[in-house]
């Protein structure tokens, strides 16, 4: 069991270094460390993230968006170990600026050969990147309904207004 865990840990670590660099830049460093190497199955796991030549002493010194990107890179690294047929992301892009939203959706695009991604979002930049948009709304108070939005022929402002108003 320990060997299986150590093997998975080392694969996730490799994935993490690749994924982190695609969300940050190729010059950025990160690492995953087992704090208690004698007892890997019970050990706490430390995350080291050093974006853009900065020298943060710990994760807590990173900004809100940098932390989200780092945690997302780790979650994707776990996912890559055994890609599930589908993956749901619920408003994970909320703390990201537009440039990081683009990196985020581009990364998902590379994974989408193997899995379907369902992305819930309020972010217009994300809405532009997906293949189809489903709008959820309540025509009657308290009752949800959905309809597909084909936006290839609408202007951006109109998609959202079409759904939310």
């Amino acid at each position: 069991a320990t060997d299986k865990y150590m093997e998975a840990f080392s694969l996730v670590k490799q994935n993490f270094q690749v994924t982190f660099r695609s969300l940050f830049t190729e010059d950025d460093d990160c690492d995953l460390i087992l704090l208690d190497e004698e007892n890997p199955l019970d050990s706490k796991i430390e995350i080291i993230a050093k974006p853009k030549g900065k020298r943060p002493k710990s994760l807590s010194q990173l900004s809100g968006g940098e932390k989200t990107l780092t945690a997302t890179a780790l979650l994707f690294s776990l996912y890559l170990l055994k890609p599930a047929p589908f993956c749901i992301l619920d408003e994970v892009d909320a703390p990201l600026d537009d440039r990081n939203v683009a990196k985020f959706t581009n990364l998902i695009r590379t994974f989408s050969d193997n899995s379907q991604f369902i992305i819930i979002t309020h972010n217009k930049a994300t809405m532009k990147e997906v293949d189809v948009l489903y709008g959820v709304y309540m025509q009657e108070i308290g009752v949800s309904e959905m309809s597909a939005v084909d936006f290839r022929d609408k202007k951006d402002e109109n998609i959202y207004e079409a759904i939310v108003n």
Binding site: L78, P85, I119, L133, Y134, M138
Partner: protein, 165 residues
Amino acid sequence: MRLKSLEIRGFKSFANKTIIHFNEPMIGIVGPNGSGKSNIVDSIRWVLGEQKSKELRLESMGDVIFNGTKNRKKGGMAQVTLSFENTRNILPTEYQEVAISRILYRSGESEYRLNDVKCRLKDITNLFMDSGIGSNSYAIIELGMVDDILADKDNARRKMFEQAA
């Protein structure tokens, strides 16, 4: 294995029967606050066997049934059906298409079905054992999980590694 469709009826705010088809790699879900987007995520967790009402934002499991508004009385049951195309024969079954359903009646009676045949939850979890899906796999990523990874609350990181390994 690809998702084919999700049908929700009487589950939380989806009082009416609602169907989403999944034909694309990247699917966006948008809509105003409180319209029902996260309820869709809950319905997928639920149909895959989630037992913890807290994970579904409920005080008790009975709260998944549409609880009425001032204009419409409460529902008598909640039903969710998730259909997959068994491409690449990831699922060990002779069917080309697999539909799993979960139903809960207000009386408390509940039922699981596999291609419309009653079964036990165990039959469904066995079916999905190796495919990376289950109600607690990495198929679902929300901001709450990002926070748990960052704070490492209750050893969240180690638990996620164990599940993935």
